[in-house]
C-alpha cells in the first residue's frame, strides 16, 4: 500500500515538474511558437467561430455523413476561398514565416484519414469540434478525450516503429505543393496566383452545386417523403395530404 502511495506521489511530482518547465517557457510573451497567451487567444477565437457556425455538435458532423447537413462543407469552401489569398498575401508581405510543407506519405495518409473518418462517424467529433462541443456542454467528449489519449499511447507503444508502420510510410514524397508539382516555386511566388484563382472558381462552383443539392433535397422531401418515411422511427408521422374538398 505504501509502495503505491510512493508511486503516485512520484508521478504527481513528475507532472508538476513538466508543468513548471512548460510554464517558464510559455508565459513570457504573446508572440512565438511556445507562447501560451498566443495559443489561448487563437483558440478562444476559434471556439467562438466553431460555436457560431453550429460546428459544436454531434448533429453537424453526423449530418454531413448522412448527406443532409452541409455546414462543414460550406464553411470549408468559404474558409479556403478567403484563406488561400489571405495566406498568400500575408506570406508575400512578410507577416508570416514560410514553413516547409510536410512529407507526403500517400499510404499512411489515406489509411489514417479513412480511419479518422470512420471514428468521426461513430463518435461524432473531431479534435476541434469535440472541444467546442465540450464548451457547449457535451459531456461525452470527456470520455472521447480519454480514448484519444489512449489511442495516442497505443500508437506509440504498438504501431510506432513496427513493420506495419514502416510499410505504410515507405512511400514518401518530399514537400510537394500544387505549384511545385507543376514546376513552380512555393507560396511566396507570384506564379501561385493562377492556382489560387482556379481554386476560388472551383469553390464558388461547389457552393452553387451545394445550394442546388439542398434545393433538390427539399423538393424531394416535399414530393416523396410521405412514401419513404411512412411509419418509420423519427419520421414525420403525417400521411399523404388529402385534397381539399371544394
Amino acid at each position: 500500500m505504501e509502495g503505491i502511495g510512493m508511486e503516485i506521489s512520484g508521478a504527481l511530482s513528475k507532472i508538476t515538474e513538466v508543468l513548471t518547465t512548460s510554464l517558464q517557457e510559455g508565459t513570457t510573451s504573446l508572440f512565438g511558437p511556445e507562447s501560451w497567451f498566443g495559443g489561448y487567444f487563437v483558440g478562444f477565437l476559434l471556439g467562438i467561430v466553431l460555436s457560431k457556425g453550429s460546428m459544436d455538435r454531434y448533429e453537424t458532423v453526423s449530418g454531413m455523413f448522412r448527406f443532409f447537413n452541409m455546414t462543414f462543407m460550406r464553411v470549408g469552401m468559404w474558409l479556403f476561398l478567403f484563406g488561400m489569398p489571405m495566406v498568400f498575401l500575408a506570406a508575400n508581405l512578410g507577416l508570416i514565416v514560410e514553413s516547409p510543407p510536410p512529407y507526403f506519405k500517400p499510404i499512411a495518409l489515406s489509411l489514417g484519414a479513412f480511419l479518422f473518418g470512420s471514428s468521426m462517424a461513430i463518435g461524432g467529433y473531431c479534435p476541434g469540434v469535440g472541444l467546442a462541443s465540450l464548451g457547449r456542454g457535451a459531456l461525452d467528449v470527456l470520455v472521447w478525450g480519454v480514448g484519444l489519449v489512449v489511442g495516442n499511447i497505443f500508437f506509440a507503444e504498438v504501431i510506432y516503429g513496427s513493420t506495419f508502420h514502416k510499410l505504410i510510410e515507405y512511400v514518401s514524397l518530399s514537400n510537394p505543393t500544387w505549384s511545385k508539382i507543376f514546376g513552380i516555386g512555393y507560396i511566396t511566388s507570384w506564379l501561385e496566383i493562377p492556382f489560387i484563382l482556379g481554386f476560388i472558381m472551383m469553390f464558388l462552383v461547389m457552393l452553387i452545386l451545394m445550394g442546388l443539392f439542398d434545393a433538390m433535397n427539399k423538393w424531394f422531401d416535399k414530393t416523396f417523403a410521405w412514401i419513404l418515411f411512412r411509419g418509420k422511427s423519427g419520421s414525420n408521422k403525417e400521411s399523404k395530404p388529402k385534397k381539399a374538398s371544394s
Binding site: 467529433y125 484519444l148 495516442n152
Partner: protein, 177 residues
C-alpha cells in the same frame, strides 16, 4: 451580434481564415489541437513509465510538455463556452439528440462507442500526421496533403455511417434541414 445563435456561414469561414493567418502571424504555427492529446499521453507515460518513455523515440517528437497546442485546446473550450453562454445555448448533456434518435437511450452504449471512436481517432491522427485543423492549414498552403486527407476522411465517414447506423436510420427525418 454575440447573442445571435449562429452567424452567416460565409462570415464564419472568413473569421476562420483570419484566425489561421493570426496563428501564423502570432506563433508561426498552424492551428492544431491533436498534438495536445499526444503530449498529455507522453506526460502520463513520463510520469508512470519513465523507462518506456526514454526508450521510445516517438516521445522525442511529442515530448512530455504542456505546450501551445494545449493552450489552443483550452482556448477552444472556453471560447465555445463563452459563446454558448452568451447566446443561451449552453446545456449539459451526455447523449446527443441525434444519437438518441438513431441508437437509443443507452448511456452505456454511447460510453463504449465513444471511447472506441476516441481510441481509433488517436491512432488515425498519428498515422495521417495530423487532424482536420492541421489538414485545413496544409490545404491553405496549397499542398495536396490536405486534399488527400479530406477525400479519404469523407469516404471513411460515409461508408462507416452507412453500416454503423444500419441504413434504416440513415435518413433521420427530424434532423433534415
Amino acid at each position: 451580434m454575440m447573442k445571435k445563435l449562429t452567424w452567416p456561414l460565409f462570415f464564419v469561414g472568413f473569421l476562420f481564415a483570419l484566425d489561421e493567418v493570426l496563428a501564423l502571424f502570432l506563433s508561426q504555427r498552424f492551428i492544431g489541437s491533436s498534438r495536445a492529446y499526444a503530449e498529455i499521453g507522453s506526460t502520463l507515460m513520463y510520469a508512470l513509465f519513465p523507462n518506456r518513455y526514454e526508450a521510445n523515440s516517438f516521445y522525442q517528437g511529442y515530448s512530455a510538455t504542456f505546450s501551445w497546442s494545449l493552450m489552443v485546446s483550452l482556448g477552444i473550450v472556453s471560447g465555445s463556452f463563452f459563446s454558448a453562454v452568451r447566446s443561451k445555448k449552453f446545456k449539459p448533456l451526455f447523449l446527443p439528440p441525434m444519437w438518441r434518435e438513431s441508437m437509443g437511450n443507452s448511456y452505456l452504449k454511447r460510453f463504449i462507442w465513444v471511447i472506441i471512436a476516441g481510441i481509433l481517432m488517436g491512432i488515425a491522427i498519428r498515422m495521417a500526421g495530423g487532424c482536420t485543423l492541421t489538414m485545413i492549414a496544409w490545404t491553405l498552403l496549397m499542398t495536396p496533403t490536405g486534399w488527400f486527407f479530406m477525400f479519404f476522411l469523407w469516404m471513411g465517414g460515409i461508408i462507416t455511417t452507412f453500416f454503423f447506423y444500419k441504413g434504416g436510420h440513415y435518413l433521420v427525418r427530424p434532423w433534415r434541414e
